[in-house]
Symmetry: C2
Subunit: 768 residues, 2 copies
Amino acid sequence: MNQDYIIPAPWAILEEGFEKEHVKSSESLFSIGNGAMGQRANFEEDYSGKTFQGSYIGGVYYPDKTRVGWWKNGYPEYFAKVLNAPSWIGIKVVVDGESLDLNTVKSVKDFRRELNMKEGWLGRSFEAELQNGTKLKVESKRFLSLEHDELGAINYEVTPLNRDVSISYEPYLDSGITNEDTNWDDKFWNTLSVEEQENKAFITAHTMKTLFHVCTAMSNTFTVDGKEISLTLKTNKSETYIGHVYETDIREGETFAIQKYAGYITSLNHDKDSLKNAANAVLDIALNKSFRNLLNKQKEDWADIWSMADIVIDGDVKAQQGIRFNIFQLNQTYLGKDARLNIGPKGFTGEKYGGSTYWDTEAYCLPFYMATKDQEVARNLLTYRYQHLDKAIENAQKLGFKDGAALYPMVTMNGEECHNEWEITFEEIHRNGAMIFAISNYVRYTGDYSYIPEKGLEVIIAVARFWKQRATWSDKKEQYVILGVTGPNEYENNVNNNFYTNYLAKWCLKYASEQVKKVAKDYNSDYKRIADKTSVSTEELNMWLEVSEKMYLPFSEENDIYLQQDGFLDKELVTVADLDKAERPINQKWSWDRILRSPYIKQADTLQGFYVFEDHFTEEELKKHFDFYEPFTVHESSLSPCVHAIQAAKLGQMDQAYEFYLRTSRLDLDDYNKEVHEGLHITSMAGTWMSVVEGFGGMRIKNDMLSFDPKMPSAWDGFSFKLNFRGQILKVSVSKGKHTFSLDKGSDLTLLLNGKEIRVVAGQTTEA
Amino acid sequence: MNQDYIIPAPWAILEEGFEKEHVKSSESLFSIGNGAMGQRANFEEDYSGKTFQGSYIGGVYYPDKTRVGWWKNGYPEYFAKVLNAPSWIGIKVVVDGESLDLNTVKSVKDFRRELNMKEGWLGRSFEAELQNGTKLKVESKRFLSLEHDELGAINYEVTPLNRDVSISYEPYLDSGITNEDTNWDDKFWNTLSVEEQENKAFITAHTMKTLFHVCTAMSNTFTVDGKEISLTLKTNKSETYIGHVYETDIREGETFAIQKYAGYITSLNHDKDSLKNAANAVLDIALNKSFRNLLNKQKEDWADIWSMADIVIDGDVKAQQGIRFNIFQLNQTYLGKDARLNIGPKGFTGEKYGGSTYWDTEAYCLPFYMATKDQEVARNLLTYRYQHLDKAIENAQKLGFKDGAALYPMVTMNGEECHNEWEITFEEIHRNGAMIFAISNYVRYTGDYSYIPEKGLEVIIAVARFWKQRATWSDKKEQYVILGVTGPNEYENNVNNNFYTNYLAKWCLKYASEQVKKVAKDYNSDYKRIADKTSVSTEELNMWLEVSEKMYLPFSEENDIYLQQDGFLDKELVTVADLDKAERPINQKWSWDRILRSPYIKQADTLQGFYVFEDHFTEEELKKHFDFYEPFTVHESSLSPCVHAIQAAKLGQMDQAYEFYLRTSRLDLDDYNKEVHEGLHITSMAGTWMSVVEGFGGMRIKNDMLSFDPKMPSAWDGFSFKLNFRGQILKVSVSKGKHTFSLDKGSDLTLLLNGKEIRVVAGQTTEA
C-alpha cells in the first residue's frame, strides 16, 4: 500500500484535509462518468498547483502518429488516442477582486471531498481564508446525468463568513486544451465557433483528422440563500474560450450559489450541423428540471444500478468500500447502451495508452456485465468486435495472413491496432482466442445461441482461419506448433508453443468447426447469408480439425505438468519466495532481458488456461499446476491476483485466496502501483468482482444451471451478491454456517449448491 | 543494383552530367576524410536544391536523450550521437549581383565530379549559364590533409566565358548548423565567439553537455590567371556566422581563383583556451605552404597508404573500382593514429545511428588494419576497448551482473551504450566475445603477446566473468545454457542457446583461464599489477573451465549439424530459393514476427562460428553446415556476403563465392539498399577486403606462418595484394596458372602455399 488517506466508508470515497500532493491522485480516484463521458475530479475554481486536467467523451479519439525508437514492419503509422475534450466544469471565483485558488489562499480548513457512490455525485466543501482576509465557506456538488448522458450539472456555493463581499462567478467553456499524453504535440482540436445566446454559451470544435464535431455548451442560474436571482452578464471571449461573468454583492453569512448546466453534444449522435440546436435543447431540459430534480433522478438511476450490481460484505469495511468502488467505476465507464463504445483501461480517468479496448473486455469484463446487466449489454460488447471484423481482417493482412483470416488488435479504439511493441502487437495473439471464448461464454451463461448465427459465426470463422495459418507443421515434432508468441505472461517474449496460446487455438479450431456445422444444420438461412460472404468448405473444416487434433502442447512427463512454453524447465527455477525482496518488483528492479530469462510470471498464463477451460481438467491437475506455477508468479499485472484468488478458493486455500483478493480490490484506493495520479485501472476492477462471485461464491454454470460452492474468508461475517441469470434475478447471501437464496425476479429456479440441486421458489428465501 | 551513374574507372569515382536527384547520393559517395575529420561532398557555392549538409569531427559527440515508444528497464537515458560540426567549406559566389546556385541557374553543362582515390582529393567542374546570361566555367578541388589533420584546403576557380564581370567570393564559417538525425531537436552547439584577425576568421563553439570546444577557422588567398592578387575584404557577421567578402572585376576568359584554408582545432587535442592560437598557427602553415605544395604532399601521403593497402584486380574494372573505393573509404575513416577514435558505421559520411563503434570493428575491420598498417594501429583498436573497460563493467552492472563482469555496449562512442532495442541492446551479447577473439586474433597474426599482459588480460577476465554469470545451469539438460539471446542473425530474437553465442562463450572461458595461467607464469610482474586490481582465484578459474566444459551446444543428431538455436528444426524449412521473389527483401515485405518465426537468416550466424573458429572444424563439417544454412540466408545485412564468399571459396564453390563478392564490393556505388544518400556502409567495406584476401587469396595464419590457398574468380585475369606480416611486407600476386610472392620489406620468409612450404627470399620474386 502506498497511500492510506482515503477514509474507509461503505458507500463513499472520502478525503478530509487539504494536501497539495494528493490533488492529482484524488483527481483520479474521485472521477465521475456516465458511460458516455467522464472527467477527472478537477476543481471548478482555478487551481494553480499541480493538476492533471481531463474530460473525455466516449468514442471521440485522434489518430496520433506512431513514435518508436526503432521501426518494425507492421507497426501502425497512426493510432487512436483518447482525447482530452473541451473543458466545461470551470467556474472562476473572484471575491473582492481576489481569485479563489486553493494553491494561493492564506489557509484552508475543513476540506472534505466525497464521491458518493450510492447516489452518483461528487461533492467538495472547505473553508478558505483569502490573502485579503476574507473567510469563505465553499461547497460544490456535481454529477454527470445518467438520464441525459450528454449533460452534467454543478451546484457551487460560496458563503462569506466574516464580512460582506462582492463575488463574481465566471463559468466558462474552454476548447484551448491539450493532451498530457501526446506523441508529437499535435494540435488535436480545431475550434469552429464560440457563440452565445442570452445566458447560454456554445463552443463548437472538431477533432483534427477524425473530424468528430463536438458542441460544448453551458447555461447558468443563480440563487442567494436558495432564492433564485437573476444577474446580468458580461462576456469574456477569445477564439477558444467563452466566460460569462456574473457579479453581485453578498452579505456575511449569505450563500451565493451558481447552478451550472453543461455538457457535450457530438456528431456521433447528431447531425454535425444541428449540434448547437441539440445543445440548446439539452440545456433547456436542465433549466426546466433544475439541479434538485436532476439530482433526485440521478439518485434513483444509481439505485437501480446498485439494486442489481451491489455486493455487500459484512464485517470488513475496507473490503466493502473496495468492491463498491470497483463496481461503481465499471458502471461509470461503460453501461452497455452503445455498441460503438467499450471499456478503456483507464476509463474516463486518464489518457495513458492509446486506444480503449484490450482483451481485458472479453476475458475479465464480460462476466461482470453478463451477470449485472440485461443480456443486451453483453451482446453489445460482442457486437463491438463483430463491427471491427473487417479491420481485424485488414490487420491480419498487414501481417501476411490471407483468405479472410482475422487478427484482432491488441489495443484499439476503432478496430485498428493502437500498440507498437512488436513482441506484444504482433505476437500476443492469444487475444484472438479471447474473442471466441467470450462468445462461447456468453452462450453458456445466457443460453442465447442466436448471437452465433446472427453475428458470432463470422468472427469465429475468421479467427479459426487465423489459427490455421498461424500454426505451422513441425517435421521434427510431427505436430502443429505455434512459434514466436507472447502469452498472457508478458515477462516472456517471442517464445515457442506457449501452452495457453496453443490450447486456446486448438479449442478455437474445434469450436469453430462445431459451430459451422451447427449453424449450417439448425440455422440454414443464416448460414446461407454467411456463406454468401465467406464460405467454408468441408476441406477447410477438416483442416481446422486436423490442426486442432495435432496441436502440440508442451508437457513435462517428469513433472506431470504442461509447460508454459518450450524450454521452460531450462530456466533457473528459483521461486518468488526465495527471491530477495529488494529485487522486487522485478519490472522496476531488473533489466528486461533478465526478466525474460527468469522463470517469473507477470500474470496467470498456464493457469489462465486452467481458469478458462476449468472443465477440461481435474481438480488434481489444477492443484498440480497451481502448485507449480503460482510460486513463480510475481503478480505484477493488475489482472493476475483475481484468477489466482478464484483458483485458490476452489482449492480451499482460503488464506491465499483472501490475500489475492486484497491485492486486487484496493489497487487504486491504496495506490499499490504508485501511479493512480495517471488514472484508474478500470478493467481489472471486473476481476475483483469475479474474485468474489466466482472465487468466494464459487459461482459456475453447469449444464445450464447456476452452481455455487461458497467459501468465505475468515475475516468476513458474510457477503451477498445478485446475478441476472437468463432474466431471473437471484440474490445469493453467504454467511458462516448457512447460505440463503432468493429471487428478485423470475420464476422458480433450480441451482447447484456444493454439487447438490436446490430449488429456489419465487417469493421465498431458501436457506441451505 | 539501384543506380549505375557512377562511371567505372580504376582509380576514381566519376560522375558526369548534373542530375539534381543524384546530389544527395553523390554527397555520400564523394565524401572525403582524413581519419580525424570528414565531410560530405556538399557544394562550396550555395545550393538551394535538396542536399544533406554534413561535416564531422572524430570523437566530437553529443548525448542525445533516448526516445522510444516503450521504455524497457536498462535502456540508457542518453546516448552519444555523431554531431554535425560547424561548416567551413562554403564560398558564396556572386557574379554581377547574381548568386551562383546550380538549382536556379539557366543551364549546366559538362558537369563532372571526381573523387581521386589515388591522390586523395575531390574535384568538380562545370559550365553554367546564369539567369543574367553570363556563362561561367567553374572548377574546384578540395582535400583534407593527411599531413595536417586539422586542415583542409579548397581551390575554387571561376572563368567568365562570354563577358567581363564583377565577381565576389564570400568564403565563410557557420556554426548555426543542426543534425539531420536528432531525437528531440536539441540545440547541439553553443557559439562562444566569432572573431577575425586580418584575413583570418575564427568561430569558437562548444557542444552542449559534452563541452567539446572547437575552433573553426579560415584564411583565403586569391589569384587571377595564377597570379596572386590581394583584395580588401568586407565582413558579414552574425552570432554564428562570419563571411569575408572579396570582390573584383574579371575579364572574359580570365580565371579568378580563391584558395580557402580552413579546418577544426578541438579541445580533444589542445587546451580549450588556446584553440584560436593553435588555429592561427595551422592557417599560417597552410598560407606558407600554399595549395599546390599541400596537394603534392597529399598525393605522396596517399601513395604511401596505397603502396601498402592496394588490391589490384586485372580484367574487371568495376571490381577494381569497388575494392579500391572500399579501401579508400576505410582509410579516410580511420588511420589508427588516435586510440580514442574508431570506425563508425557511416564514417564521416552521415549521421544515422548514435555512436560510432560496433562489434564490426573487432570482427571485420581489425584484420584489414592488421594487414595493411603498422601493428600499432591494430593495437590502438584493441586499446580503445581497454579504455572502455570501466564503462563496460558499469554497463553490465546496470543489467544486474556483478563482481567486475563486463558487457561491452552494442554501439558506443565513449564506452556507454548507444542503442535501444531490448532484443539487441541487452541480448545481442555475442559482441562481448568478439572483443576477446580480436585479442587472440591480434596475437595470432602479429605474434605480439605483450598486449595481453599489458592490457588485454583485464578485458579477458571481465568478459569471462560475464559469461560465467550469464550462463545458467539447466537441471533438465544437466549442462550450462545461455537463455534469451540474439545471435549475429538479428532475424531471431530472444532465443535460447544460440550456437554461435554458446560456442564463443565456451571458448572465451577456456581462453581466459589459459591466459590467466600463462600471464601468471610468464609475466609475473604484470600479473601482480592486474591482481592488485582484480584477482582471480583458483576456484574462479575452475568455475570458468567447468562452465566451458559443460556448455550446452544445440545439435541435431539426425542432420548431424549444430542448430542455430534450440527449436530451429521446428520451423517451416522452406529455402530462400523456394521463396517467392516478390516477398523479398523480407525486411521490407514481411512484418517482424513473420521474419522471426521464419528460418531465414539475415547474416552468417552458425556459419560465423565456423568462420571465427575454422580450425576447430573439419572441411567436411564446414561443408555440411554451409550447405544447410546458406540456403536459408537472405544476406540482408551488409556484413553477410563476405563471410559466405570466404567459405564458398574455401569449399571451391567459386561461382557462388564471386556472386557473394559482387554483393559486398559495390554495395554503395550501386546503392543496393537504396539508402546511400544517408551515408556509406564503412565497416562492411573491411569485409570486402577479407573476401579478396581470405576468400580468393585463401590467406590464413597457420603455426605462425602465412598460408595461402588462392582461388580466382573466372571473370578475373589476376589479382594482387600486400600484407604487413610481423613487420615484413609481402606482395602476393595471383593469376591463372601461377602465383608470385615477393617481399617489399623484411628478411626471408617461409609461407605455406596450398599446404606446402615455400621460401620467399628478400629481393627476389618467387613463382609457384
